[in-house]
């Protein structure tokens, strides 16, 4: 027995020693790398054919998108967990599947991808017409046609998938009038005869993929008309139109390979192929492991929260950078928000809600929770808009300046409470409303460290103004069940103050974000994943939210948004705690360079969305090797 143990120990120790003597797995020095071969139309090699190794100078590595193994390649399914290829959203992911247009969050415009030229509304605002590029084709070589666009929509409706369920209230039909011309017919307002919501109808074109009709029919035949089977199909035979496709997946990584026959190399689109031949995403188990890999050069593009990202270039002089060279390092797009539960005693009082919000130390939240990767409320005063210039221009700053607060205003908050008669009448140090002490529990999911840091600051703010706020961190499984159910929020188990997200940047923003924060259509509902978890209802706000999508006069739009900001900052049904980027975007330029940075001269500007979302796909055509 002893001998066996000894031998085993020696073997293991030797293997450890031998392994230690092996060169460290650092990225190959750029100077020794061969120049990237010019893209050709050579047949795609299989994983086995490349002898198990991805050439570093042809592969761009990502992190932060994919946290679990890929389970399918079906563009109709919503849960393929295929983060490198499927994300039908405001800035849709267009690596494998493509949308007619792509959204650019920096200038708020959409640019044609499969489409040929801009889309046009008819004079009566009832339908959109656009053309497809004649050069666009599928991976099997057949052209992308208007019939594909129409059939994709019909399929969404037929199987009532997430896209169909989400848009059928606004889109009446999508039809092909010839091989390349598509007409999107809007559902009309019976009173005005115009589109019920032109914003949502137009956004469909940059948020949802076009799928091949022939392949869709193959899938339907395979599913035998069963919607469940149709949406659960792994679709490994899917036909696509984008520049990359499936190469290799397992529990540790996802690798896409460039399709050298991609139609986008035509002069009508990009005029060349994207530079990296492979897009690889390592599946890390947490942010810490991903950050170490970024620092070590095993990741080129990082879409995860890297705490104190500046340390990598300030302290370690690594070639790591972010979109902006200094704090906040990125462009804030969404507004993580604290919601009040009006069922909790005293939180139906605007004075209490506003006082707590005024007392919160936002600079500490931004420093602790976001390690300064968020603009402060001094830099971007609070409203309902994200910090992008396009949204900031949509409201009259001066008109609401007196209502805005940047935080830490303890004296102001206390004065507000005193004026409302909410004082400490029994001398126990806590304020009472109608004789009852104000005590709240601020809640967010356990393990969401940035949110937890923010909640702690909210709790501390309460104590400073005489309102007892403690914190509680249930698991996400429990948290989401309570937050999305008005019935649960109305019970004693309902959370008093809790955090949820808001919309980011997109073609329907800021309207959609405001709708999700203030519209009464979501108030007091069950299975509420849309928003307005405070159950806020204000007819004036509802009227404006309904009106804005139909407005075309910029002055009227600005006036409407300004009024909504005024309502929000007055009633404070919820309040923004920080600005968060649409996607974190840090790059290590050891191997690849030419990533988007502020003022990099790209026209139109390429947004910091990891080179795969919306117009940021243009980044893949700009990047080049540090040492060719």
């Amino acid at each position: 027995m002893k001998r066996t143990t000894f031998l085993l120990s020696v073997v293991l120790a030797l293997s450890m020693l031998l392994a230690a003597c092996q060169p460290a797995p650092t990225p190959a020095p750029a100077a020794t790398e061969a120049p990237t071969a010019a893209p050709t139309a050579a047949p795609t090699p299989s994983a086995a054919e490349i002898a198990g190794s991805l050439p570093r100078n042809e592969t761009m590595y990502f992190n932060g998108e994919q946290w679990n193994p890929v389970v399918c390649w079906n563009p109709y399914a919503s849960n393929c967990n295929n983060a490198m290829t499927i994300a039908q959203q405001d800035s849709a992911r267009v690596t494998m599947f493509e949308t007619p247009y792509v959204y650019n969050m920096l200038d708020g415009k959409v640019y044609p991808l499969l489409a040929d030229g801009p889309f046009a509304w008819d004079a009566g605002l009832t339908k959109i017409t656009f053309k497809l590029k004649a050069t666009a084709h599928w991976s099997d070589g057949t052209p992308v046609t208007a019939e594909d666009v129409a059939y994709t929509w019909a399929t969404h409706l037929k199987y009532n998938d997430a896209t169909g369920a989400s848009n059928k209230d606004y889109i009446a039909d999508i039809v092909a009038t010839d091989a390349l011309t598509v007409v999107v017919k809007a559902k009309l307002d019976s009173a005005t005869g115009k589109a019920l919501n032109p914003l949502v109808v137009a956004a469909y074109l940059s948020s949802n993929y076009v799928n091949q009709k022939a392949w869709t029919q193959t899938l339907e035949a395979r599913a035998g008309g069963d919607a469940t089977k149709f949406l659960a199909d792994k679709a490994e035979d899917v036909v696509y139109s984008g520049p990359y496709h499936y190469f290799y997946v397992d529990d540790t990584k996802v690798v896409l390979i460039r399709d050298d026959n991609y139609w986008g190399k035509d002069a009508s689109m990009f005029g060349k192929l994207p530079t990296p031949k492979y897009l690889a995403h390592t599946i890390f188990k947490d942010n810490a492991a991903g950050s170490v890999a970024l620092a070590q050069g095993e990741v080129d593009v990082s879409q995860q929260f890297n705490s104190n990202i500046q340390v990598l270039w300030v302290n370690y002089a690594l070639p790591v950078s972010t979109y902006l060279p200094a704090a906040p390092y990125g462009i804030g797009a969404s507004l993580p928000t604290a919601f009040y539960n009006p069922n909790s005693y005293g939180l139906d009082q605007p004075a209490v809600r506003k006082a707590i919000a005024m007392a919160v130390d936002y600079p500490t939240i931004i420093a602790n929770a976001m390690t300064n990767q968020s603009a402060t409320f001094d830099q971007v005063p609070r409203s309902l808009m994200n910090p992008t210039p396009g949204e900031q221009a949509l409201y009259d700053h001066a008109a609401v300046a007196s209502l805005q607060w940047a935080g830490n205003d303890i004296a102001g908050a206390m004065a507000l409470l005193d004026a409302a008669g909410i004082t400490d009448t029994n001398g126990d140090g806590w304020r009472e409303y109608n004789g009852q002490t104000l005590h709240y529990v601020a809640t967010c999911p356990n393990g969401w460290s940035d949110w937890q840091a923010a909640i702690e600051v909210v709790a501390a703010a309460g104590k400073k103004i005489g309102i007892d706020i403690t914190s509680n961190y249930p698991e996400w499984g429990v948290y989401q069940t309570v937050v999305t159910s008005w019935k649960a929020l109305s019970t004693t188990q309902g959370y008093d103050i809790f955090m949820m997200w808001s919309d980011g940047a997109g073609p329907t923003q800021p309207w959609s974000r405001i709708r999700h924060l203030l519209s009464s259509e979501f108030a007091k509902t069950e299975t509420n994943w849309n928003g307005n978890w405070s159950g806020y209802a204000n007819p004036d706000a509802d009227k404006l939210i309904k009106e804005i999508p139909t407005l075309t006069d910029p002055a009227k739009i600005k006036a409407a948004y300004t009024e909504l900001v005024r309502i929000y900052l007055t009633d404070v049904p919820s309040f923004t705690l920080m600005y968060r980027p649409q996607a974190f975007h840090a790059v290590n330029e050891s191997v690849w360079t030419g990533f988007p940075h502020q003022d990099d001269g790209s026209k139109p500007p390429i947004p910091p969305l990891d080179c795969i979302d919306g117009w940021s796909i243009a980044c893949l055509y700009n990047v080049h090797l540090v040492t060719p």
Binding site: Q22, Q89, D169, E475
Partner: protein, 334 residues
């Protein structure tokens, strides 16, 4: 032989009863967790959806698909029927992947890491513990503090220390993954070598902790046995020391063997800490995500596998005990 058959049948009966109870608990306990798994799935799909009716329709689809809106007794009988046909159903958290596919893709990483680590830690720890008891003095004085230190060291602490020193600082070993970040699995020396290098830190982070605990246990048992009457009597009889030591360690080994069986039985639960710190693939994080996402089928299947492995290994150990130590069989058969 008749006594042994009674002993065997008695054990088998009790293990069957335990299995039935465990099977029922495996089904019920995950479903007693507060929260709604379908709401969690819908949360991913609903982001970006523009209307309430759409979200509710999606919720209903998934509730129907997973059967979470049926009475729990009906769910139990469906589950039981499917399990006896070898079908654990769809994983909620990785739908449309089945539970079988989810487990299959991760379990080999877990067994590959856990089984050798458990065996090596057990062997080294027991040998060191036995030597400390036998040699005493200097060796014991050195080994004991080290063993106490190692056995009480938090697993995550050990993993982070190894990561910082050997991964980030010395760069001897890669910091994350199961194989080279720039490789595709193929049967080549390059690939195999990266598997070995990536294996080292997760492996040693488990083994080092295990060694300490095993050594302390074995040392205590050995000291107890070395002072037993039969040892003194054997010495009076003039039996050789080498022979006596053999008996001593055979007796001292019994509780350690039980511990080994339990460790092997529960190993498919995964080495969660090592998996997280080193981003090593395996069942630990899969199961953690399943629990956090209330993935009932995945939790039930994983815990059923663990239950069965523990029961089978304990059953085998009990049967083996009957052979190793006739006193146990005799006592149990009375």
């Amino acid at each position: 032989m008749k006594g042994y058959r009674e002993y065997f049948l008695n054990k088998l009966l009790w293990f069957l009863v335990t299995f039935v109870c465990a099977f029922i608990l495996n089904f019920i306990l995950p479903r007693l967790m507060p929260g709604d798994p379908v709401a969690g799935i819908v949360s991913h799909i609903a982001q970006g959806m523009t209307n309430t009716t759409g979200v509710q329709a999606i919720y209903q689809q998934y509730a129907d698909l997973f059967g979470t809106n049926r009475p729990i007794i009906e769910q139990f009988f469906i589950y039981m029927r499917n399990v006896f046909h070898g079908d654990f159903g769809f994983s909620f958290s990785q739908y449309p992947r089945t539970v079988a596919e989810t487990l299959k893709s991760a379990i080999w990483w877990t067994i590959g890491l856990q089984f050798p680590a458990i065996i090596v830690g057990w062997l080294i720890g027991n040998v060191l513990g036995a030597l400390a008891a036998y040699l005493k003095k200097g060796f014991d004085n050195l080994l004991m503090p080290i063993s106490i230190f190692l056995s009480n060291f938090p697993t995550f602490g050990m993993a982070i220390i190894l990561l910082v020193i050997f991964g980030v600082g010395l760069k001897w070993f890669p910091t994350s993954g199961g194989y080279g970040f720039d490789l595709i699995p193929t049967f080549t020396w390059k690939f195999i070598w990266t598997v070995i290098t990536h294996y080292q830190m997760p492996f040693w982070s488990i083994v080092l902790i295990a060694i300490g605990g095993q050594a302390i246990g074995m040392r205590s048992m050995s000291i107890y046995e070395l002072n037993a009457d039969y040892v003194k009597y054997s010495r009076f009889l003039g039996i050789k020391d080498r022979k006596i030591v053999g008996y001593v360690f055979r007796n001292a080994m019994l509780p350690q063997v039980t511990g080994l069986a339990l460790s092997i039985g529960t190993m498919v639960g995964g080495a969660l800490v090592a998996e997280i710190i080193f981003s090593y693939p395996g069942l630990g994080t899969t199961l953690l995500h399943g629990i956090l996402g209330q993935d009932y089928p995945l939790i039930s299947a994983s815990s059923l596998i663990i239950t069965m492995m523990v029961l089978v290994s304990m059953f085998l150990i009990e049967i083996l005990y009957g052979v190793i130590d006739p006193r146990i069989k005799a006592a149990q058969s009375e």
